[in-house]
Symmetry: C2
Subunit: 350 residues, 2 copies
């Protein structure tokens, strides 16, 4: 028999609070709180009685109230764009490790630029999340430092160094080297690179900057500085498609492209498909990220795999350490791996 206090049929049922439990068990709120936290100073008898009361009342502590004083046991993951399937791989790694440590993970997305990103991160801080992982965020390193001064932070996908936050990134220098060396070993010399230039300014440490540097370094190391050819565009399917158009129209077109990201590479492939350029017979294409679509047999895109699950797990591990008090910044890189499929072959005439 329930009181119809609002006059409506389906009033939401009131949750039991810590006071309800205390009253039901005949003890003080403080005692219940101790049981809840497994704190010192509880007899076995009392523990049993309180736990029985919690069970019969269906008690669940309010995470909000807990967060007011103590910690919220919540980690925030900030993502720029969930459409990129690589994100879900990173998130899987983060979640697995976080849940091992008793943290709940909530994901926040902000796809419309720096202002929205800032708002989302502030929303996480406002909710007193114990720590946050930022995946490939925009903004300057200073912006990130400021965020990290207020809340334990790990940045995933941007390279260090940093003062107040940790970084986990794929070794993009090495990844670019893998790509260039692979193409050179197939006989390519005119190898182009597509560099991401988006709405937001490129900052040092961003993957597009490091991959471009890795490309240039590797070209020089292979004695191909004369052939360095960097196209600027967006790492989206559309960006890749228009880059394909540009490359084809060159007087002396390249024979291969390091597209910088799989989404761009897929766009390049689409552009070539429309233009009648055969891959890999006429042109070799390499992506980066090894997203799901790259692995489809119809696509077979040669790509660089970043072992996203491990990166995610590492980020979560570092974040937990930082929450537990570590102060020194840690910057890690994980080794990438070239996955050779069907979009790379010797250049025409070789």
């Amino acid at each position: 028999m329930r009181t119809l206090d609002g006059g409506t049929m389906s009033e939401h049922v009131k949750r039991a609070t810590i006071s309800d439990v205390a009253q039901h068990a005949g003890v003080s709120k403080a005692a219940v709180s101790k049981v809840l936290r497994g704190a010192y100073g509880v007899s076995g008898t009392m523990k049993a009685r309180v736990e029985a009361s919690m069970a019969t009342l269906g008690y669940r502590p309010s995470a909000l109230a807990r967060g007011m004083r103590g910690s919220s046991f919540t980690l925030g993951v900030f993502v720029v764009d969930l459409h990129n399937t690589f994100m879900s791989v990173l998130i899987e790694g983060i979640r697995t490790e976080a849940e091992l440590n008793g943290y709940q993970v909530f994901i926040g997305e902000a796809s419309r630029g720096l202002a929205q990103q800032r708002q989302m991160i502030e929303a996480m801080v406002d909710r007193k999340m114990d720590g946050i992982v930022l995946i490939a965020p925009f903004g300057t390193a200073d912006d990130l430092e400021e965020i990290a001064r207020g809340t334990p932070t790990v940045v995933l996908g941007r390279h260090g160094p940093s003062h107040s936050y940790d970084t986990v990134a794929s070794d993009d220098i090495a990844g670019s080297a893998l790509i260039v060396d692979h193409l050179v070993s197939l006989g390519h010399r005119r190898i182009a690179h597509l560099m991401q230039v988006g709405r937001e300014k490129n900052e040092s440490g961003m993957p597009q900057v490091v991959r471009a540097k890795g490309y240039v370094d590797a070209m020089v190391r292979n004695g191909l500085e004369q052939e360095i050819d960097v196209l600027e565009g967006r790492w989206s399917q559309e960006g890749g498609r228009s880059a394909a158009g540009l490359m084809v129209q060159r007087k002396n077109p390249p024979t291969a492209v390091h597209a910088g990201a799989d989404m761009a590479a897929l766009g390049v492939l689409a552009g070539f498909h429309e233009a009648g350029v055969r891959v890999p017979e006429d042109f070799s294409v390499v992506g980066y990220d090894n997203v799901f679509a790259a692995s489809l047999p119809q696509v077979g895109l040669t790509s660089v795999d970043q072992s996203g699950i491990e990166m995610g797990a590492l980020a979560a591990k570092l974040l937990v350490e930082r929450i537990q008090g570590r102060q020194e910044a840690v910057s890690t890189v994980v080794a990438p791996r070239l996955v050779v499929r069907r979009t790379t072959a010797p250049p025409p005439g070789v």
Copy 2:
């Protein structure tokens, strides 16, 4: 000059609270709160003074504390699997509409079955989220009713009817009909259907159940009840691949398949690719969801588009209405659309 109370260099800076603002502006806490909420009873002068103080102190209200009494301005989106790219489309729709109404959206994922799903949803409730959207959740309708009795809820991707929550779903009956009619019009008669059977039990209202029913209905309507052929498996790439193997080995194999979901269809295509079955010359394949990979020119998968953005937006709109007090349950379906690409053609010999 900051006190080094912990002995460590980088103690996190204390945030300004409502009391700090009140003191700085020389008014009461209640006054600041009124300004914050835009409540009645504030003079222009006071409003200006308080807002100035908030700005100089860099004040941001604690969402946690607000949530303790009032609402948290937070919506939770529960997702079973973020790897499915259709989810990010739905989420985009939800976010757009939610942000229009001043809500922050946080996403929670639980990929490991019913128990983890329950924990995630409880975590959202524990954080006093004002409402939640459940995308294709497991569990019985009763489970969902119980959740919805505690928190305003909209279920996305499962069909009604329901008492205490709203539903938004694609019209899967119509979608299956589009597929079957399309294949029949091309001349196919032996059309198979791949039905999802996963770890969790299939409940009425789940898309796999409705799509199967739509398939059967459409087959009957076309006078093909003799040809009804339902294979059970998982709607994953692997499930599709093994279904491809099964179909090929039939004594009298089908000439087309309604794979139920794009992920499964991609698996079927991969299986056929390996087995040397040509698509669409030997076999027609239709997916469902119109995910990104289906649109790649190399793939060109015929599929059913569910206009995810609109569904997401509608779900958010219903949720906001429900938070604002609507009590009657609303069940909506949105019309799907067939996208014909290159994996469907007349059967061999026609």
